[in-house]
Structure formats: C-alpha cells, structure tokens
C-alpha cells in the first residue's frame, strides 16, 4: 500500500537556520511575508502552515542575543488574518500551556477554527523556565517536573470546554423565537490541582469540533503525552534509521490508549536546499551553511557549549584551549538547544578531535557540527528521498523549514511538489475543506 505524503511549511524561525543576510530575505514581521508563504503553501496543496513560539527574547552572556532573526507576531492574531487570504490551508500555532489559561486558549482556538472554516491546529508545548515567566502575571512558578502534569490537565480542560457544545444547539428560529435548543449549552465544571473552572463556554462547537492537536516533545513523557492525546507529532528525527526507530516507538504506544497507528501522524521538521543538479545543490548548500553560521554566530555557538565568554577568540582561528565551564548556570537563556549539551566536556573533546583531524577553524567546525540540512539535491533527488523515507515508515511526511522569508518555499512548491504528484504520492488538489480531512483523520 503506497502511503500518501503529508507536507507542511514552517514559517522560518528565530534561529540561525533562517538566513537574513541574503539579498532575497524579506521582512519577518510584515503580514505580507506571512501571506506570501501561506499562499505558496496553499498553491502547492500543503496540509498546513506552522508557527513556532518563543515568549522571551533570547539572551547570551546577560545580553539580548542579536545575531539571529528576531521578532515574531502574536500567533493567534496572524493565523486569523491568514485565514482571510487562504481557503484550505491548515493553520497551526504553537501555544504554551504554562503561560496561558485554558478557558482563554480554548476560546481562541475555537474562534480560529470557526473563522477559518475548520483549519485550526494547536501545537501544545510545555515550559517551566522562570526566565520566560518574568513576562507574565504568573511568573515562572512551575517546577520542571510539573510541566507535563499541567500540560495534560490543560489539554483535558480545553477538551472539556470544546465538547461542552455538541453542535446542534443553535436553532436560531426567528418565527418561534428559539435561539438555543439547550439553554445550558456550554456548561462546564473542572477542578484539579491546576485549574478551577465553573461556568459556560461561550463559543459554540467549531467546524472541526476542536483544533487538530500537535505535540513536539521528544522525551519519554512527551511521547506518551502524544500517544494519549495528539493527532500529530512534530519530531526532530528526519533520517531513515532514527526516524524509523522513533516512528515505531511512538506508533507502538497508541494501542495502550485504544488508538490505531493512523490516528497519530509523525511529521519531522526538515530543511532543504535545491539546485538544477545534485552538484549545484550541494554547492548552494555549502553557501547557505556559511550564511547560517557567520563568524559571530560560530563564537556564540561555541559559547553555548563552553558556557563562558569567548568573544576574544577569532572565529577563523583554532578552538579555545580552555575547557568548558560545567554547571547549572548557562550563558544562553531562552534557548532549548542549550539543554541538549548534557556533557560539555565530552562534546568539547569530540569537537577538538574533529577539528584537529580535519584542520578546521572555529567557524568551519561549527558549520560542520551544527549542520541541519535534511534534503540537498535536484528536485528529482529530493522528491525521491522524501518519498523513500515516508514509504519506509521513517515518517508520514515532513514539516519543511525554508531558510529564506518569504520566498523560501517557492522553488520547492514549483519543482518538487509536481514530481511527488506525478508519482501519485501527494494530492493534486484538496479533497476536503478541514485540516482533519487533509490529514486523513476521522471527524470527531
């Protein structure tokens, strides 16, 4: 059985993957940039557009990090505006369960689903850091181990609110004067350790019933959370072996919750660089890597592992002889990747060995070790690679992360998508109108 591929576009994020120095790089905040990318994705019949989240500007060495693209819109607001310039494209927003209230978020997603005719999706993320909490009433009060507890109960509470309307209450019969068949529609009670909600939800049932639910965490807890309640996972495992392992693991957890494998889609993030030939693409990819890792960015990356100020070092020179500082305190704040370097001394030893063996400068080393290019090649090569990974159960499709705003998806849409369509593995037109339908999920 040949699988159909799901494709989505990730609006380029606020990290060094996004190249702002290129002459083609446009605004990251003007609405026209969002509209451009959404329209491209819709023309290419993509499943959805995806927006990430970051609720505090990143810092390094106690200062606002100034080397990457910065500045984002409010997720709900920009997605609601995009609903006006698209008809079918799913609209997925990342919304934190720590710095929001379930009643308000449920209302915003139900509204977005109404205003888009059933195209809303919610990527539920958790957070605990006090650093981000400084921007909010609640502050960073949540102990790390409680974040999934809160996320689970936040989502359960939101589901109760979505389900408090069944969809048949509004009669609006002018002659008889009956607006509502059930005068208690929306009635909800919820009380637990985190939330105490009592009243009526004031948004009637939306076209999809509730937004499509995404989950992005990779920990055991995160996978379990996804298996229990998500419709799709936004993962990092885009290679064949890692992807298959992750895919089998997560899909294997579904039976425990009475769910079948097709009820949860695995969609890794993927970058791409295209060229007329494979060789041309490889050359372009090298250039993109140099744009992504400027000398200043290389030093900043190194500081995140060394956990100390390395501003005096020459990015075109050798690695520092001093060792990383090991400890709880980190020079970089508001950045998830830093927590991935669990053993900085081991990483430093590895990098030194690599740099010595290949005679790499700091910048060359960072270009080498932080490479995140998933697909590089001619359109035919990339189309084949995507299809192979999906058919081999390494994923159900990909969330593509272009490195240029707003035109970074145009070439992919114009060259790779037609090839996938020719192979019969990607839709040539939308069959349904809701995102659940695009994703092949049964109606609720």
């Amino acid at each position: 059985m040949i699988k159909q591929i799901h494709l989505a576009a990730h609006f380029p994020g606020v990290n060094n993957t996004t190249v702002w120095s290129d002459p083609r790089a446009g605004s990251h905040i003007e609405f026209s940039s969002f509209a451009h990318m959404a329209r491209t994705a819709e023309r290419a019949k993509f499943d959805f557009l995806f927006l990430a989240e970051g609720l505090r500007l990143r810092e390094q060495n106690g200062k606002i990090y100034d080397l990457d693209v910065m500045g984002r819109p409010d997720t709900f607001t920009v997605l609601a505006a995009l609903a006006a310039v698209t008809d079918r494209l799913g609209l997925a927003g990342t919304i934190n369960s720590t710095f929001n209230e379930p009643y308000e978020v449920a209302r915003q997603f139900a509204t977005l689903d109404h205003l888009s005719g059933g195209r809303a999706a919610w990527n539920v993320v958790t957070s605990w850091d006090a650093f981000t909490g400084e921007n909010f009433r609640r502050g960073g009060y949540l102990p790390q181990e409680a974040r999934y507890d809160r996320a689970r109960t936040f989502l359960a509470t939101a589901f109760e609110l979505f389900d408090s309307w069944h969809g048949d209450e509004i009669v609006a019969d002018k002659a008889s004067g009956v607006f509502l068949a059930d005068a208690t529609a929306g009635r909800s009670f919820h009380k637990d350790l985190f939330f105490d909600i009592n009243g009526r939800f004031n948004v009637p049932r939306s076209p999809q019933g509730r937004p499509v639910i995404f989950q992005a965490g990779d920990s055991d807890e995160g996978r379990e959370f996804a298996a229990s309640s998500a419709d799709a996972i936004f993962s990092r495992h885009g290679t064949l072996e890692e992807g298959q392992k992750f895919y089998a693991d997560v899909k294997g957890r579904l039976a425990r919750y009475g769910r079948t494998p097709d009820e949860l889609l695995i969609l890794p993030a993927a970058t791409f660089v295209l060229g007329g030939t494979d060789a041309e693409a490889a050359e372009r990819a090298r250039e993109v890597r140099r744009q992504q890792v400027s000398g200043a960015t290389a030093i900043a990356f190194l500081e995140q592992v060394w956990n100390r100020d390395l501003s005096g070092y020459d990015p075109d020179g050798p690695l520092p002889e001093v060792d990383p500082v090991v400890g709880e305190h980190t020079v970089a704040r508001g950045r998830a990747s830093v927590r991935m370097h669990r053993d900085p001394l081991a990483v430093a030893a590895q990098w030194r060995a690599l740099a010595a063996e290949r005679r790499l400068s700091i910048r060359e080393l960072i270009i080498e070790v932080t490479g995140r290019q998933t697909f590089v090649g001619s359109p035919a090569t990339v189309a084949a690679a995507i299809n192979d990974l999906v058919q081999a159960d390494a994923s159900d499709g990909f969330i593509l992360v272009p490195h240029i705003t707003p035109g970074g998806l145009d070439e992919f849409a114009g060259t790779v998508v037609p090839l996938l369509q020719e192979r019969g593995v990607f839709r040539t037109d939308y069959k349904g109108s809701t995102l659940r339908e695009h994703l092949g999920l049964a109606p609720l």
Partner: protein, 367 residues
Amino acid sequence: MHLSVALDGTGWHPAAWREERARPAELFTARYWADIVAEAERGLLDFVTIEDGFTVQSSRADQVTGRLDAVLISARVAPLTRHIGLIPTVVVTHTEPFHISKAIATLDYASNGRAGVRVRVSASTEEAALFGRRGPLPGSELLAEAADYVEVVLRLWDSWEDDAEIRDVATGRFVDRDKLHYIDFAGRFFSVKGPSITPRPPQGQPVVAALGHGPGAHRLIGQVADIGFVTPRTADHARDIVAGIQTDRPVHVFADLVVFLGSTPGEAARRQARMDERAGYAYTGDATAFTGTPAQLAGLLVQWQRAGLSGFRLRPGAIPDDLEAITRGVVPELQRRGAFRTAYEAGTLRERLGLGRPASRYAWSRS
C-alpha cells in the same frame, strides 16, 4: 466629526436576531463579520469596535448566546478592508498584558496601522469563575489594575525602537540591542520584564480606548486612553462629562448612542416596539437610545458635538438594518451638512484621529 459603530452580534437589542434581515445562524462565520465591517467601511466610518467578554450574554434560550474572540475577528477582517479602524474589546482583568500587547501589535501589522484596543474591566463573579485564579476585585482595584495593564502594553509597544532592526552583515548583527529595552514594570498586580517579542507596530502605539460611565472610569480614560466612550443623556450632560475628564494628553471623547432608525419617526418607533415586544420587555441599556430618522439623528449629532465631543459611537439596535441606516442614511445627511468626510484619506487610524505617531519613550530616554 468622527463616527464609529459598535458591533455586537446581530445588534444591541436582545430581539434583534429575529428581525427579517438578521443573520443569527451566521454569527460564528467569518463571512458575517466581513460583510458588516465592509458595510461600515462603505460608510467611510472612522472605525468599528467589536464587543467581547468571556461569559455567555444571557441564560435565556430566546436570546443570542455565544461570541467569537474580538481580536481574532478583527484580524480575520483586516486583510479584507483597507481604511476602517479595527478596535476589539479586551477584558484586561483576566488576560496577560504581554499577550495582548503583541496581539494588538500584530493586528496593527495585519491592517497596516488601523488597530486599536478597547480595554474593559470585569467585576463579574461568573467571569472570574471561568479562570478560577482569584475572586472579583473591587471596582477601584479593577481600574487601578487596568491602568497598570495599559501602561505595560504601551511600554511593550515602545520596547523596540523603530529602527532596532539593522541587518548589519559586516558585524553579523540582526538588531541593535541597544534599541531593545526591558520595561521592568513592577506593580501591585503583576510584574513584566520585556522587551516585547513583537517589533514596534506601524502606528507606534495603536489606539487605546475605554468606555466609562462614572468618575472612576472617566479618570482611567483621562489617564490612559486616546478615546473615551461615554454615555451622556443630553448635550448638557455631555458637556459636563467632557469637562470632568481631566488629562494633559489629547483625548477624544465619543458619545455612545443606541440607535433605532426608520424612514419616518413612526417606522423607527414601530421597529423598536416590535423588538421590545418580542423580547418581552422594553430594552434599555447603559447608553441613551435614539429612535427616529437618519436626518433627525444627524441633526442631534451635530448639536451634541458642540458640547465638546469629538464624535460618536453608534450602537445599531439591529444589524444590518440600523447599520445600513447609519452608513446609507446618517452619513449622507452629515455629508450634506459638511460635517463628515466624503472619502477616506490615506493614513493610519491615529492619523485619522489627528493623534500623530508617538516616538518610543525609550528613544527619548536614550538621547
């Protein structure tokens, strides 16, 4: 004269949804809101406001129940309109100033400088119970918290100077971080660090509005609002209210009126009576109701404006009937009297209101 309409469901009368041309079954669709905001724009109005709240409007099965988030409705119609200002209502008592600041900034980007926000406090026990964070605060505390809230929102809008984004390839810097500012707000109700994650919006500071019925709310208007919506009973009363709003900043005072219009005074009265009968009671609200012809209303507006009002926010009793009577009846009457624009000029909502574009407070403090 500045003229706006307050949009709420099928209109302000609780039985408006039963009028022949009402579209109650479409209240939760984008098309409905796109159509009525487009009608307001055809009438060259300054802006629309969109009501909001977290609770259901009524516990009665014969009245409209449920509403969509007003900020998102505004965002949904922003790309479909070109000139009209969009001012959603936001309940400040139960929301995060950080989220709302970036939401309104984003609305300002999506509308090319036509965004505003009407801040509303909530003393309702029912509304508080939907959050469960705390019980309702007393009125004076609610207003004090609202003042802090607006202060935080304004500081966040200012927290990126206009030219903070530099894209300096030579040094690898995307922003000049000296032009990004912590707002370091610490008040009795909350603390917010900043800066915003959203760059400074096109208007610098989108328009802030508030509705007030008494001295406490009028004080808040004088303190933080660009536009105050007030509810005078007569022209003299309007004059007293305007005089009572103490401020050292330009503040536009708009009078709110609920309007029931008809081609003759009798028809207008019959329409209102029909809706009252269907509701089972004579509708009265916080604002004075006007019942009559578009020409009569235009005359009253011109007369009341002399009391020092900048303009009016008309609340259509029923939509679309009273909305169209405003855009196709009242507006031409005002134009005939030379009291209202005959075309939109290019520009932002602030510019239309003569408010100018404020520099970031942090740019001032730095230089």
